[in-house]
Subunit: 333 residues, 2 copies
Amino acid sequence: MRVLLDGMGGDNAPYAVCEGAVLAAQETEHEIVIIGDEDKLNEALKKACGRDDIPSNISVCHASEVISNNEAPALAIRRKKDSSIVKGMNMLKAGEGDLFVSAGSTGALLAGGLLLIGRIKGIDRPAICTIYPILGNKASLLCDAGANAECKPRNLLDFAIMSSIYMEKVLGRENPTVKLVNIGEEEEKGSSLTKETFELLKNSGLNFKGNIEARDVPKGRADVIVTDGFTGNIILKLTEGMAWNIFKTIKKKFTDGLHARLGSLLLLDKLKELKKEFDYSSYGGAPILGIKRPVVKMHGSSSSNGVKNTILKALIFAEQDVIGVIEDSIQEK
Amino acid sequence: MRVLLDGMGGDNAPYAVCEGAVLAAQETEHEIVIIGDEDKLNEALKKACGRDDIPSNISVCHASEVISNNEAPALAIRRKKDSSIVKGMNMLKAGEGDLFVSAGSTGALLAGGLLLIGRIKGIDRPAICTIYPILGNKASLLCDAGANAECKPRNLLDFAIMSSIYMEKVLGRENPTVKLVNIGEEEEKGSSLTKETFELLKNSGLNFKGNIEARDVPKGRADVIVTDGFTGNIILKLTEGMAWNIFKTIKKKFTDGLHARLGSLLLLDKLKELKKEFDYSSYGGAPILGIKRPVVKMHGSSSSNGVKNTILKALIFAEQDVIGVIEDSIQEK
């Protein structure tokens, strides 16, 4: 396998990306091609390796442009032909690599997936699937996490099928349970979208377990959580915002006064554990499902460890031929 | 003023409701009529007063039926004519009281508001407005928090107008800022609903400050947060679920081992403070805005203190003639 890695995407690029590639190269024999500004990448790689040689399964492929988060995605994909994202996706399409991993603009990755790689036949809307961290429990897969602000029931059925396959093949969850986000548990609750989707899911042959209210999402009551991209984005961002806010408040309160500081010192390990439970980088990045080749989006602020984990999980995504299984399942429908 | 109080609604009824009424009666001279099973209410009132007399501004009005949370709301409103909710709303409509407060079924209160009290002329969809707790900052008002699973842009404009008036008149926020929940801050982001609503809000004369992403909702960046009832419900329930989950995890970790228990002891005050910041009962309940008379929904698990606060804030809601101001504003549109 040949991993195509966007060296220029994300807040900590290119250093964290290069360091992550080096860490991954120590754990896998597959080839890793880092795409981006040659000079910057080589410099970052040298820094990441220190006195050691750059691993022989890492190479650099030059791309002179970068697509930023602020650019209009489709326009950027059309105009910046020599950007790391466009180059990586074109290489992926041409078979010069088996998977593409990037911490760059989600919009550009989605637009590139549609425009350069193309949809799987029978899938109307590709979606982005994100691991949702659960405290003290196995994580869920949330799909769609923000690719499609407006969806039809049929799209949500596709999301459920694709996510179930990914969850089983990549994260090893057998016969994964699927729940539909709704504003009540009862079948008749919600919008016309949720009501019609409920019907489709009930008859889908998936391991569908009914509706899930938002209050139960953080409790890990389902392997796959299906929703439209608007709601999925709200769930993901609100969770981040809440966690950020609570940790900030804890930090402020727990360092206020001698008693509190002493108490915090005694609880240091526990506080670290708590913070770690929110860290979902061990699950790898967010696959874009519904396009013809494996593309995985990493969190913009991925650390080198996050980059490493994403590469290793993305390799399973490609090796398990998740896309082939999705193609077969969609045709059987 | 005459407060009509549903004695039978909520998890802790009738005791917490009666005790809350007694606490409120000590702080206001307005009359409080508790509606529900006479015997049970009198017993609860006696228990709440202990050796003291029942305050002279509290009276009981008998209602033989109770609407539970599990009943189909509109059907229950039509059938249970002698329930505390139907009786209270009919009294409110007949002018036998100035406001109605209940911890009962939200669905039944909404259905009762529509069927028994009626909409304000020009308002297509009444909404429920909930105080959204902000850690270490002033709370926001979230509207719609779940009454309308599907909305039109015009409905969201109405929600923004009504919430701004409530926020100014009842919670004393001058010229309250309004933000629209969206999956990006830019004007062109989101669904057709958010895009069209953005246009309406921009030209509304309200203190509209653009879109707010879900990650910023817990940071208190707006006085009024406007969204459809589906998204509002997701935000509210997810926030509850996250808080519950984090506190549960903290409790488990902080009592695991001698060091941790000692640390927790030193941090006891801070932990209590943290929990208190999530308690929004001091802000009163959730008004149903868009109907012709003041109806306020309390949280189902309201404590006596929550009941007291809701009664006192609901009195301001009625005294300030929020509904009259809404009627005038809607006609000016």
